[in-house]
Amino acid sequence: MHTTFSIHYLIDYRYACVCLLACLFIFSAVEWHCSNQKHPFTKKLDYWTTIDVQLEATLDNLPKMVDWRVDATTGKPLATPVKVQGRCGSCWAFATAAAMESHVAIASPNQTLLELSEQELVSCVPNPNHCGGAGGCHGSTAELALNFIAHRGIVDEWHFGYQSFNGDDNSGGGGGGPDDHRRRQHHRIKCSLKLKPFETENDQHVSKYYQDVVAAAHGYVKLPANNYTALMHTVATFGPVIVNVAAQGWRSYESGVYAPTGHSSKQTDIDHVVLLMGYGTDDVTGEDYWLVRNSWGTQWGEEGYIRLKRTDPISLPRPDADCGMDVTPANGIACTEGDDGNGHQHHITPPAVKVCGTSGILFDPVLPYGVHLVK
């Protein structure tokens, strides 16, 4: 009896080994397949559309001043207070969330002003091609964020509050410095949102929203690069526009119309994302400006805003006199990884790009498209 038991035990063990081996083989095959192919459940979608921007129109019919912070007729606010991104490279998420907030307020009948979740964008938006960084607190683009919102929607701040103030790891403390990086423990804030179990019927674009989503967009519009007229028309007609800027000289800005002079006048290394809220002319100096919302807190600049010098290229001796070259576009919006069409990733060294306007504000404007409330 004992012997029979022993034999069965060994036979069972043998079959178990065969099963394990088979499982291991299948697992290895799947792993190898996935390493060479796109994710099998990947769905490529891109809601990049165009709108009718009057590129050739004159600027005469536009208002002299536009400020989307407050509705001029009702007096209701159209923008939330300026936030602080902290030690996280999440300017792209803050600019996108702020744009969504304002566009929701503009589009909704009662001018509903929501506080939307930047953390959803930081934690949930994928960036496999390393566009503008490695994703999350390590950089991304507003285009990716808006594309994501078109699919998943965006929840409000109270459902997924900002937790990445101290960086991806949220470890806190530390004054910085190269040595400080080694001390930090990595605990990336994970995307904890759950999908709705059903698809919405009203919006054909949407595959599946997150639960508790309060707003969504149909996609985004990339305005023509370095086109002053297009940007003026868009911000005057449609609302706030997300812009990519070179913010190297902004560190100590306090007030006034920012117009760098001397060697710093050609700041063309695009490395920051902000929200263009309007334009106008300074009462005292008579200087034209762009009104820009930053994400460095209300104590920076003019209550969190900066006014950049606005120059119509027509007034310049040469149309591109206000332009420069960004020779490091990887820290802007360019991607450093790409797909060669056969499912193989390869490295890209993006070429230099021409950027125009003060701090390169005309280079890459992006407008949310079809922003709406979700109930």
Binding site: L24, P128, G167, A225, T336
Partner: protein, 277 residues
């Protein structure tokens, strides 16, 4: 996973043999069958194949366990140097603004001390009551003796949470701060003389390294693409250089690295397996 290790498999086989050797005394019919290992293999004719399979599985599972642990650690390390650091905003007490307005009313716009003092007004804060007295003390000290100057140590005293990691870190930040402080004073003098359209001021970003400024968070130190591109006018474009933003929506893609990274991981795992063997 320890039980899958080849050494354990050997131990298991030896124990099995011993067990059967012990059983032979209880069952005479098995006496000749389980006497030696050779006889055990006779009972299981393909025992050597099975043993090889068991060992192979053990090796693979052990290697994959080690690989998983190694990858976890590697992922931790990957993000250690990616963190952008800045300090939280500091308070901007009303007293400073009042002091600034008094100075401006006095008309000493071109005076160096006035420029310095007015720069205090830009010290940004988040209404943290704990910090307010520090700035007020600082202002009082400066008002009593403007020639004393404003130093980096004064600045640090107003930011009690600031962590300086080493003497070298302190010196580097001090140099950055002093350069910015000089720039601010010179710029504000020019602004007071209507030579500039905007004003600059002190804030929490004053002593940050360039990569710590809270912008996009791109880590040029870790990127292969950071090398400056030679400007070739034949290839220069405006927006064509930017890859169209095609994106996936599968949540799993967020936490998975790119295919290229994944291939690197697989290669590393194979290497680790070899070492384990």
């Amino acid at each position: 996973m320890l039980w899958t290790h080849p050494f354990f498999v050997h131990w298991l086989v030896n124990n099995c043999r011993c067990e059967h050797l012990a059983l032979k005394n209880q069952n005479p019919k098995l006496r000749t069958t389980f006497t030696t290992t050779h006889n055990l293999r006779q009972y299981f004719p393909r025992m050597s194949v099975h043993l090889a399979m068991i060992k192979l599985i053990g090796l693979l599972l052990t290697a994959s366990t080690g690989c998983w642990l190694w990858k976890s650690n590697a992922n931790d390390d990957n993000h250690l140097s990616d963190v952008n650091i800045s300090s939280p905003p500091l308070p901007r007490p009303d007293a400073e603004k009042q002091y600034l307005s008094l100075l401006l009313r006095s008309g000493n716009h071109h005076d160096q001390s006035s420029a310095v003092a007015s720069s205090f007004a830009a010290v940004s804060t988040n209404h943290n009551d704990r910090l307010l007295p520090l700035w007020e003390d600082l202002l009082e000290t400066y008002q009593q003796d403007p020639s004393r100057g404003f130093t980096y140590d004064d600045y640090l005293r107003a930011i009690p949470d600031k962590l300086i990691l080493s003497e070298r870190d302190y010196q580097m930040r001090k140099a950055i701060w002093e350069e910015n402080w000089d720039t601010i004073q010179q710029h504000n003098l020019a602004a007071a003389a209507n030579e500039s359209l905007y004003r600059m001021g002190l804030n929490e970003f004053m002593d940050l390294y360039e990569h710590e400024l809270p912008q996009r968070g791109y880590d040029k130190a870790q990127s292969k693409a950071w090398n400056l591109n030679p400007i070739d006018t034949s290839t220069v474009t405006t927006s064509d250089a930017v890859k169209p933003q095609k994106e996936t929506t599968d949540d799993n893609m967020l936490h998975s690295s790119s295919n290229l990274d994944k291939r690197r991981e697989v290669s590393s795992c194979i290497l680790l397996s070899v070492f384990t063997i």
